[in-house]
Each structure stands twice: as structure tokens, then as C-alpha cells.
């Protein structure tokens, strides 16, 4: 069975249905969770950025398992173990990493447009809120649409990251990538980068 993971809200609660998943034992899988009339969903590594939440669990899905566009689906699942390294500090680090990717993109675009001073100004802040403040200043001043947009995305992403809203920061980053690279495929590529960031941080392996 391919490895699968699942994000849950605090207390093993399914984020949209509100039902609580049963707990695994110290060395044994939890009981099979089979919500009546519904299905259970889980993630491969590439799916993780779409479903971010407070708790990350390794799960086993009951056959038949189908692969949808951004998740796995099965009639039942059970929790195997909690990925303890996914905690609040990991979420904060994730948001910050995504915002700093946007900074790289913004600096690149501004340099392309011959705006070296502004590019340097964005490179200096070491604090997310300060970065957001500086970027906000450029989002109305930049003369071209693209430069202004990237500065705007940076301000938004850094602000969300500073609030601990990692998923929001990451989504902004994926959108920023499209604007910077002028390629719709940049969105999914950025999401892949984000997925592998999570996997590296938490030591997940996809088989």
C-alpha cells in the first residue's frame, strides 16, 4: 500500500465534517474509520500543500484506493502515527519559506525591469513584517504591472506568514510564481516545491 498522510484539525478532528478520527495505540494502528455514507481522503506528498492543517498523521487506506486530482479516496482509513515534527513552529517556518520564495521572485522581476534600488531594498529586511511594509511601498510605486504585482504578492505573503497562516502564504506564493514566470504551469511547480519542503522538514518518504 502506498504511503499516505492526512491533515486533521486539533484533536484528530476532520476539518470539514467535524468528526473525530479514532486514536492509534502506542504501537498499533487505530481502528478503521468508516464514516457512514461517506468516503475518507488522504494525501500523497504532492497533495499535502492543498490540505494543510494543525496535525499531520500517517494513515493507511482500505482498498480500493482511487487517486483524484489532489487526493486519495477510499471507503475507510485508519491512523498509524502522528508526525510529531509537524507542529506550530513547522507551520510558521513553512509560511516564512514560502514568503521568502516570493521575495526572490520579486527581486528577480524588479532587476529585470532595471529597478536595482528597489530590488536591493527588498533584499535587506530580516523580519517578515518589515519585509511586508517595504514591499507594500513598492506595490503602488512600481511602474509596470508585473513589478507592482510581485511587490503586492510579497506584502500579502509575508503578512500572512507573520500571522501563522502558512497555507495562505503558500497559495499567494504559487500565484506569484505565475505572475513572475509568466507561465500557468508555474503554479503547480511552486506547489510541488512546497510539498517537498514539507516532506523534507518532516522526514516523509513517498513509496
Amino acid at each position: 500500500m502506498p504511503a499516505a498522510w492526512k491533515f486533521l484539525s486539533p484533536g484528530r478532528v476532520a476539518p470539514f465534517g467535524g468528526v473525530q478520527w479514532p486514536e492509534p495505540g502506542p504501537a498499533s494502528p487505530g481502528p478503521w474509520f468508516r464514516p457512514p455514507g461517506r468516503e475518507v481522503y488522504a494525501c500523497r506528498i504532492v497533495d499535502l500543500p492543498w490540505w494543510l492543517d494543525a496535525e499531520l498523521w500517517e494513515v493507511e487506506m482500505e482498498n480500493p484506493v482511487s487517486t483524484l486530482e489532489s487526493q486519495l479516496v477510499a471507503p475507510a482509513g485508519r491512523l498509524l502515527r502522528r508526525i510529531a515534527s509537524w507542529d506550530a513552529s513547522a507551520l510558521n517556518a513553512y509560511g516564512a519559506a514560502c514568503a521568502l520564495r516570493v521575495r526572490d521572485l520579486a527581486v528577480g522581476v524588479l532587476r529585470e525591469e532595471g529597478r536595482a534600488t528597489e530590488a536591493e531594498a527588498l533584499g535587506r529586511p530580516t523580519d517578515l513584517l518589515e519585509l511586508a511594509r517595504v514591499a507594500r511601498g513598492f506595490s503602488t510605486e512600481a511602474s509596470t504591472r508585473r513589478g507592482a504585482n510581485l511587490a503586492g504578492y510579497l506584502a500579502e505573503s509575508a503578512t500572512r506568514a507573520s500571522q501563522g497562516a502558512g497555507a495562505a502564504a503558500a497559495n499567494i506564493a504559487a500565484n506569484a510564481a505565475v505572475s513572475a514566470r509568466r507561465q500557468p504551469s508555474a503554479f503547480d511547480l511552486e506547489r510541488e516545491w512546497q510539498a517537498w519542503w514539507i516532506a523534507r522538514r518532516t522526514g516523509l518518504r513517498q513509496n
Partner: protein, 230 residues
Amino acid sequence: MASPEPSGKTLEEPPVPPGSSPGLSAEDRLVLQRIAAGDEKAFLALVERNHRAMVRVALSYVPSEAIAEEVVQEAWIGIVQGIAKFEGRCPLRAWMFRILVNCARMRGGREARSTPFSSLAPVDSDAPPSPETFRPPDDPRWPGHWAQGPEPWADERLFNAEAARRIRSEIERLPPNQRQVITLRDIEDWDSSEVCELLGISEANQRVLLHRARTRVRKALAGWARRAEP
């Protein structure tokens, strides 16, 4: 209290629609048996569960709450008199509300229709909430996303009598169709299929009305429920 002869009310049960399973739920059956045997408690329990909803429904046919109350009492007379003969080919509540609707239509036809008078005091003016707005379609980065999003609520404010008063007040102000649907679904906890059957509307239509009603009630609460400035 005078007991007027129920006139023109049909107590006939509707034919069972094809594909549905006839017969009463076990709960309905028990209630009927006890009431037919003269059990007051069972009767009052049935009244408690349904009276408010009946007044609501009657209000959509007659011009005032006072007349609606009279119509409902007429309907109860018809229900009590017919209950021993009720064969249970449709759910008990559906039969009861058919009787009610017939009474209400008869009465509504005789009274002049006018806008229902709201007897509740108007809501005090609040500090206006920051208007919740969306970005326009030509926004460079986020068309259709929140420009000014909902301000967080202090949840505990939703649990007191003032919240109830404001909700009631806003429900009174809703257009009749929306008022009916939100009352039956969210206050009286009817299934969506029961509401659709009573009002003669589709599931999709019912959801639209429910959505509009809930959206307005939420908005009415927003000004008051939002967290006070620290």
C-alpha cells in the same frame, strides 16, 4: 372556548406517491395510539412540537399573528376530531399541516391581505460594522476575493437572550418565503424534504431561500457579535 364546525376542510389522506413507503414511523404510531386513547400528555407533546411552526405557516396566508393563532386553533380542532380515523398513509405531520393549510386558505380568502405587522421592537442602531466587501473583477491579483473580510466574532455573545431577540427580529423582516424556510429548517428542525413537500418547492429552490435567509440573519448579527475593541 367555542368550537366552530370545521367547514370545507378535507380530512382525506392523500394517495401515497409511487415509490414511497407508506405507513407511519414507529414514533408516529405510538403518538397516535396514545392520543386516540385520550392521553393528554401525548397530545400536549404533539402541540409543543408543532404549534409554533403551524403559526408560521398560517401567517403566510393571513394578515396578522392574532388571526394566525385562531386559524391554528381551528386546525387543532380538525386534527383532534380526525385523529381516530387517520389511517397513516402519509406521515402524521404532513397530514396535520394539510389540515392547517386548508384552514388558513379558507380564512385567508375571507380576510383582506396586508403586509404582516411586525410586533417586535426595531433593533437598536449599532456602531455600523466595517462593510464586508469583495475586490472588483478588474483587481490585478485577487478579483472576487475579500477586500474587507468578516471581522471575528466574540462567540459567547451568540448565547444570550439579546442574540435571540436580534435573530427573531431579522427573521420577522424576511420576505415570507425565506421566513418560512428558515423557521421550519433551522428553528423547528424539519427535514428539507418535509419543507419542500409543504411549500411545494424543489430542493434547489428551498436551498436558495434558506441561503438568503441565513445570510441576512448572519449579517444582522455581525454588527453586534463582533469582538469589542481591546
